[in-house]
């Protein structure tokens, strides 16, 4: 083994591996039902079978990823108790409610997804079938909502009193709706929508790059990029609010993300760079006043610096890079999707040009990278706490000495699942290309 047998470190790594793998499927699990709903709705409204087929094909691929999402979600649900028994004991007393409700939301989604998939041609009215995707989309977003409130609670635990080691005066709703909840929940949900739109857009873009000029792919690209532009603007707005939230409630996290050492007003925002041994920032791009504006809306906002905090309770400073990577990709996605929308609105411009298609194609994997970076940033940025100010990560962990073996087993499992999932998806769509399916279903040109 590369590590000494430290259950805390190994539990952190195993949790990271499980969540890092699960979040890929969870993210698209939140966003894709909405995209399917939009496509099916347009298909009905415009009476355009291309959009209906889009919804059908997306749903078909989606269900394979749902399977992996479900099983890895089950894994993390149980692993939380297995790896973090002390944390879960405290969490059960305080934030058990949204965890419980998340399962209900998922249950609801699972039932309707099952019905939706097997009833495409069962109802006379297309509208009836469309109605079935609505509970799926609502359930998916509600799941994200509930589970993110739990994560928000870990950042700002509230809704209880902790007197002489005993929890009293528990208020589950106050715990759920803590100060971190509004920004965190909206950020997670919008970013999931954005990522899903971009991944579906990237698929269409790749078809165009490969020389397939079928109008089906153009419609797919248009639909996903218009949606992505809206979600990107929303995500950016929420990002701004998140900065203000951090400034107010978790200043040490903001300062660590920004390598902001001295408390000062007119603080600049630092992009990239490296940190020397005596904490000097080098080779970074500085945007004057930007950190103060991000924190409080005005250049004269005073932003707390790292030097004000006890070094014992500061997160590692490398989270700066993950923060920057997330923000950079977010900006890139916004630019690309807005550019697409502008080009498609202007007469004489071609939004389906090759360079833009390439950028959209890159946006798919990049958006997932941003999701990963964002979660690494927020989770590592909360260290050394598992419940900020109350319980350290080390206190929450298991004492079992077998975590290392489990880490190996689960890593192999996820590797195998990930590879098979990719192979199966490829085979599904290679073996049944759009042209073939259009012909098979007797769709030539849309009637409108």
């Amino acid at each position: 083994m590369f590590f000494e047998n430290d259950p805390v470190l190994l539990s952190r790594i195993l949790t990271y591996v499980t969540l890092g793998f699960h979040v890929i499927f969870a993210t698209i699990g939140v966003g894709i039902p909405l995209m399917i709903a939009i496509a099916e709705w347009i298909g009905i409204k415009r009476n355009d079978p291309h959009y209906t087929l889009l919804a059908r094909r997306w749903a078909r691929g989606f269900v394979v990823t749902v399977a992996v999402g479900v099983v890895t979600g089950t894994a993390i649900g149980l692993q939380l108790s297995l790896l973090w028994p002390n944390f879960m004991q405290a969490a059960g007393h305080t934030i058990g409610l949204p965890m419980f409700m998340e399962v209900f939301a998922f249950f609801f989604e699972a039932i309707f997804l099952g019905i939706y998939l097997y009833t495409w041609d069962r109802f006379k009215s297309k509208m009836k079938h469309f109605l079935l995707i609505i509970p799926v989309a609502i359930g998916a977003t509600a799941s994200a909502f509930f589970i993110t409130t739990v994560n928000a609670f870990m950042n700002v635990p509230q809704g209880f009193e902790f007197v002489n080691g005993v929890l009293t005066d528990v208020n589950p709703l106050a715990a759920m709706f803590n100060p971190a909840t509004p920004t965190k929940v909206s950020h997670v949900i919008l970013a999931s929508y954005l990522t899903s739109a971009f991944i579906l857009g990237a698929i269409a873009a790749i078809h165009l790059i490969r020389g397939n000029k079928h109008v089906y792919h153009k419609k797919a690209l248009h639909l996903t990029m218009v949606s992505a532009a809206i979600f990107a603007i929303g995500t950016a707005l929420v990002g701004d609010f998140s900065g203000k939230y951090l400034h107010e409630y978790q200043p040490e996290k903001l300062a660590a993300a920004e390598w902001h050492f001295e408390t000062e007003s007119e603080a600049p925002l630092i992009l990239g760079g490296i940190l020397t041994e005596d904490n000097e920032v080098k080779y970074a791009l500085e945007i004057p006043y930007a950190l103060s504006i991000l924190s409080g809306g005005t250049p004269d906002t005073e932003v707390k610096g790292l030097n004000e905090f006890d070094p014992e309770v500061l997160p590692p400073l490398w989270i700066h890079y993950f923060f920057d990577l997330m923000v950079f990709i977010g900006m890139f996605l916004a630019t690309v999707s807005i550019l697409f929308v502008v080009l498609s609105r202007k007469k004489g411009w071609n939004p389906f040009n090759r360079p833009l298609a390439w950028m959209i194609a890159a946006g798919g994997p990049l958006s997932m990278l941003a999701i990963q970076s964002g979660w690494v940033f927020t989770e590592v940025g909360r260290q050394p706490w598992i419940l900020r100010g109350l319980m350290t990560t080390a206190e929450g962990a298991t004492t079992s000495s077998h975590v290392g073996l489990m880490l190996i087993l689960f890593s192999v499992l996820y590797l195998v699942l990930g590879v098979t999932c990719a192979v199966v998806l490829r085979k599904m769509f290679k073996g049944n290309p759009v042209e073939h399916e259009l012909e098979e279903r007797g769709i030539s040109q849309p009637t409108a």
């Binding site: 394979v64 089950t74 297995l82 058990g96 609801f108 039932i111 099952g114 298991t398 689960f410």
Partner: protein
């Protein structure tokens, strides 16, 4: 009824729900694999696929409900069971993960492969075996607790007759519950060949399942005399369970009222499972943890129960719709839709 009892009852209901729906699913996977090996798969393949496809995801949720719910209602269980069950719990997760995803890969990927079917069939028997570990260790004597450190005694677990008895009981029960449901489903589908084969399976596994039940009951007297005595005190519950079993087996034997027969099987397991659970109280884990000292605070309990009622109000109509479309719709079952 105290909040503690309401809490554990809610959880037990979910676990019972899981026991039934998962048994059908696990057994179906095994039969699917077994008939493939013996070249009889064409007889029952359609029946199994048509039932399982829309409902497999729902099965998993019952289990998630139970283990998230138990942490909500009884946070102390996370500490005891969480620490002790790292390995068996992880093994169960891995098996569930393999099963769920490979089922989806095979079904939606429209690609039948021998490995997929094997994984699907084998996990169907291994998962119940690994999950029952929890019930086994709850009887006490399999866990050491010193200086705040919880450890599972593997030698004790693997060397105990009781624990192997429970594993066998779980496996034969899965096969019996599954076969009796699929017999009913085949009769609804008017598929005579499938019906004959599945009825045979149901009858083969009927007596082993009740026999193992009795064996485990007797082994428990060695393991946990207090629990055993509590079970003897409510002997009538188990007698009724036995009666339900007799009725179910008779009906399947006579090829009559197969729907009623399956309901009888459900009643048989309902009585046995709740009789076992009720006599286990107040202990969640002998002798360390009872429902009273491991319970969450009152506000959380009320909130969870309210959420549960609200959730049920949403779920029951949805489940009804699911069952109406795929379980009770004759045209769908017969493959006309």
């Amino acid at each position: 009824m105290t909040y503690e009892v309401i809490g554990i009852t809610v959880l037990w209901i979910f676990l019972y729900g899981y026991l039934i729906v998962a048994s059908v699913d696990f057994g179906a996977g095994f039969y699917s694999y077994y008939t493939k090996r013996t070249n009889k798969n064409h007889i029952i393949h359609d029946i199994i696929q048509r039932y399982l496809s829309p409902v497999w995801e729902v099965t998993n949720v019952f289990l998630v409900f139970f283990f998230i719910g138990i942490v909500g209602f009884f946070p102390a269980t996370a500490f005891y069971y969480g620490t002790a069950l790292l390995i068996p719990g992880s093994v169960a997760i891995i098996l569930l993960a393999i099963r769920g995803s490979y089922y989806a890969f095979a079904t939606y990927g429209a690609h039948e492969s021998k490995i997929y079917t094997f994984l699907y069939g084998a996990t169907g028997l291994l998962i119940p075996a690994s999950l029952t570990t929890v019930l086994t260790i709850s009887e006490g004597g399999y866990i050491s607790y010193e200086d705040g450190n919880v450890q599972l005694l593997y030698g004790e677990l693997f060397g105990s007759l009781y624990s192997w008895g429970v594993v066998l009981l779980a496996i034969v029960s899965v096969l019996f519950i599954s076969a009796s449901f699929l017999t009913y489903y085949a009769s609804r589908a008017k598929d005579r060949n499938a019906l004959a084969l599945l009825r045979k399976y149901a009858l083969i596994w009927s007596f082993p399942s009740i026999g193992m039940g009795v064996v485990v009951f007797l082994l428990l007297s060695q393991r946990n005399a207090e629990h055993f005595q509590n079970m003897v005190d409510i002997w009538w519950v188990f007698a009724l369970s036995l009666a339900a079993f007799a009725a179910a087996t008779y009906l399947i034997w006579q090829k009559k009222a197969l729907g009623v027969a399956f309901i009888m099987v459900m009643i048989q397991y309902f009585l046995a499972f709740f009789g076992y659970g009720a006599s286990h109280l107040p202990y969640l884990l002998y002798p360390y943890l009872t429902i009273y000292d491991g319970f969450t605070n009152e506000t959380m309990a009320i909130a969870l129960i309210a959420a549960f009622i609200g959730g049920l109000a949403m779920l029951i109509p949805s489940l009804y719709l699911l069952m109406k479309l795929f379980l009770f719709d004759a045209d769908y079952i017969e493959g006309k839709k």
